[in-house]
Symmetry: C2
Subunit: 447 residues, 2 copies
């Protein structure tokens, strides 16, 4: 199977040392930009700039965004200023926006004068879109046409616009005020009679997103309709940019990792596991471990004061509490993933609670059986043993309900449902579990 | 902003009752296929077939795959057999393959004779690819050309092939044995001089996947190179199909949900939260709750036998064990997500263990401080109180190491790292935690 060429760091270093510009140019021109970035990542900053200088700025701007973001920032800081203006002008606007958001605002203000005025306007517009909105994901490079030309003319205009590869496949049809009238795919243009009018060929029922819509909406729409790109529209119906499939895929993968980390009570790393500084990773885990520790400490303090005549009950406390915590964790995860994939919405809350009530009841009954058997082995009488299954049943139900309610509450007040749900569930179930256990012991055994 | 038409079920029902075929045809022709499926999902099976019958089979085959999979299966079982042959022939091969894999094998054998012979060959080939492989995700519809024709001729050949919209954007260049020589994008063909040869225009460094490669490789390659589609090649270098961006996006979203559910100790539902039958959801959660319950029961039995003279220590058992469990959960999740996004590989195991050792040590020290303060408040002496921080430190370190080792072990023996990692971590940390606690008490206080 043909694959990318295995050019290695030592060979690149030899070319750099020998000033072999032709060799460097061949590497940087012939391979896929992602492969060039991957192979050269091991070089130092000055070496990377010398490699990039072997090719025209258009090619540099294709390779550059494939370096990991922290490296892009480092390369920018290390660069000669004259490099940066042409590179920024040539970069795709979504990649440029991602990079500028990571740079120090003071540094951005210093380098913006190096960029041509028209591009500067674009940069400021994109930077002003709030993070996580459709606007922050879009590129302002797209192909557009008026409605009243023919397919043949449309194709020759596209030849002269020569848009880049990610944005040529859908062409947006605009009126003179840049309001979006419809779109045609390049496929339809090619297959049409050359004399057919764009206005006849175009699809009028355009599905788009507004510039301020959250990124989950973008993902959901693009995934549902299998689009290569989705148009972004301002509040006057004017096209301001497009979001392409590759950026949506990256966003989905990043969001999935962040969600999984939040579910396990970690503040999302936001970078690769092996790249994250140990101290920042310790902090992102430690903060949640400390919160979980504090709630467990409350349970411990209650236990330490518990002077029950039924000492055998103490041994079963971790078991009873863990059953509720695990079941709550399951419910929270199911509701978080269902909300984030669009499988269910906030308005389904009644159905969700009804389901969790039934499932919690069934799971509680399931676990009470081994719980009762275990109790029988240690309790002084079958009546005493009843405390364990009765508590398990109620704690598992409380866990399921708390686990499903919390993500819904977070979503309803505009927070990410994955945020803190599971630590909160543990905290609540820990405290409620111990109170229920004591309550059941009192109710069944008296004191 | 223009959006999809809000056609509603009652209006569709009126059209069906009145036999308004023209109205039904307009709905099913004019809207995006995903929207037609969404609006008509509330109808019963016979009504949906009557709606589909209003349009030609080509259009039916575009709409049909947008129904949720369980509904597609139901519709197939409820259909008149003569419907199925033409519909199956017309469906994109990847959608057809997904559906046939869900149907009863006996039923598949019954309906296959309704399909034309050439398509039947395709169907059997795709069905023979193992689930989760590149082959099972691919479609056999792609545009291909020989190398020695001109760009102008290439475009007119594409016009006569009229490939469907998801596969026209990259055109694969094949030799007479169907071996893959390179590819051209539709963009490059349009922008080229009409007399340029395809062999000059094509990109020769093709990045593809082999038919048996696992689906994570497909996702990683398509995401890294921002492709719209990636070619699938057999062991003799022949092109057998392509995998398109939309199917990769769907796979990533499904995998992310499955992983999150496994991390929370749920056997993946594999369907929407609100669609899953309550009894199957109870089973998928109950099986893991029961396993976790069994390990917690071991802890309880150890505790119940513990006749330490230091009774105050018992109250802190849940706290100490939970610290290790939470930290292990974090480590397992970080390693699982890093492996699944390609951030790290099995061969990085030394670096991973070194990182987890350091972070575990830091986290353990962090939590020992409040642990010691808590101990001082309840222990008979500062020496006695030392048992708590000493155990926390060691349990947190054990948790981090176990949490990072288990997913690596699962991956190395070919299992999904997310599978069972967290329940196993909890089980091991529960047992090790209680032994460490008893050991520390013995070592520090004697007995």
């Amino acid at each position: 199977m043909p694959t990318a060429n295995p050019i290695l760091i030592p060979e690149l270093r030899v070319m750099l040392a020998e000033g072999d510009t032709a060799g460097l140019r061949e590497v940087a021109e012939e391979l896929h930009p992602a492969t060039v970035a991957e192979f050269s990542e091991g070089l130092d900053d000055a070496e990377i700039w010398r490699l990039l200088d072997a090719v025209p700025v258009e090619r540099q701007s294709e390779i550059f965004p494939y370096y990991p973001m922290p490296r892009q920032v480092e390369l920018f800081k290390a660069a000669d200023r004259p490099h940066l203006g042409p590179l920024l002008e040539s970069m795709a606007s979504d990649n440029r926006d991602d990079l500028l958001r990571e740079l120090d605002p003071g540094f951005v203000e210093e380098i913006l004068p190096l960029v041509a005025k028209a591009e500067r306007h674009d940069i400021r517009m994109l930077l002003s879109c709030p993070e996580g909105s459709a606007g922050s994901m879009m590129t302002t490079e797209y192909a557009s046409l008026p409605a009243e030309i023919t397919a043949g003319e449309a194709i020759s205009r596209l030849r002269s616009q020569a848009p880049n590869s990610e944005s040529i496949y859908y062409i947006y049809v605009l009126d003179p005020e840049r309001r979006l009238l419809g779109f045609v795919s390049l496929r339809d243009l090619i297959l049409a009679r050359p004399t057919a009018l764009v206005s006849e060929l175009m699809q009028k029922d355009v599905i788009g997103v507004r510039v301020e819509e959250p990124r989950e909406h973008v993902v959901e729409k693009l995934a549902r309709f299998d689009f290569i790109a989705i148009p972004v529209i301002d509040d006057r119906g004017r096209l301001v940019g497009i979001i392409t499939h590759d950026d949506v895929l990256d966003a989905v993968r990043q969001d999935a990792t962040d969600d999984a980390q939040r579910i396990a009570a970690i503040a999302p790393l936001g970078e690769g596991y092996l790249e994250a500084a140990l101290i920042s990773m310790t902090w992102k885990r430690g903060i949640w471990l400390a919160i979980l520790f504090a709630t467990a400490a409350i349970t411990a303090m209650v236990l330490a004061r518990w002077k029950s005549p039924h000492a055998w009950l103490v041994a079963f406390i971790p078991l009873v509490i863990a059953s509720g915590g695990n079941s709550g964790n399951q419910s929270a995860t199911l509701v978080i993933t269902a909300l984030s994939t669009g499988d269910c919405r906030l308005s389904d809350w009644k159905r969700i609670l009804r389901r969790e009530f039934v499932v919690g009841l069934l799971l509680g009954m399931l676990l009470s059986v081994p719980g009762y058997l275990l109790g029988l082995a240690y309790a002084p009488s079958p009546l005493h043993a009843l405390v364990i299954p009765a508590t398990i049943l109620s704690v598992v139900m409380v866990g399921s309900l708390v686990g499903s309610v919390l993500p819904l509450v977070f979503r309803s007040i505009g927070l990410d449902p994955a945020l803190m749900s599971n630590p909160f569930v543990s905290a609540i179930v820990d405290v409620v579990g111990i109170l229920l256990y004591m309550g059941m012991a009192l109710a069944i055994l008296g004191d």
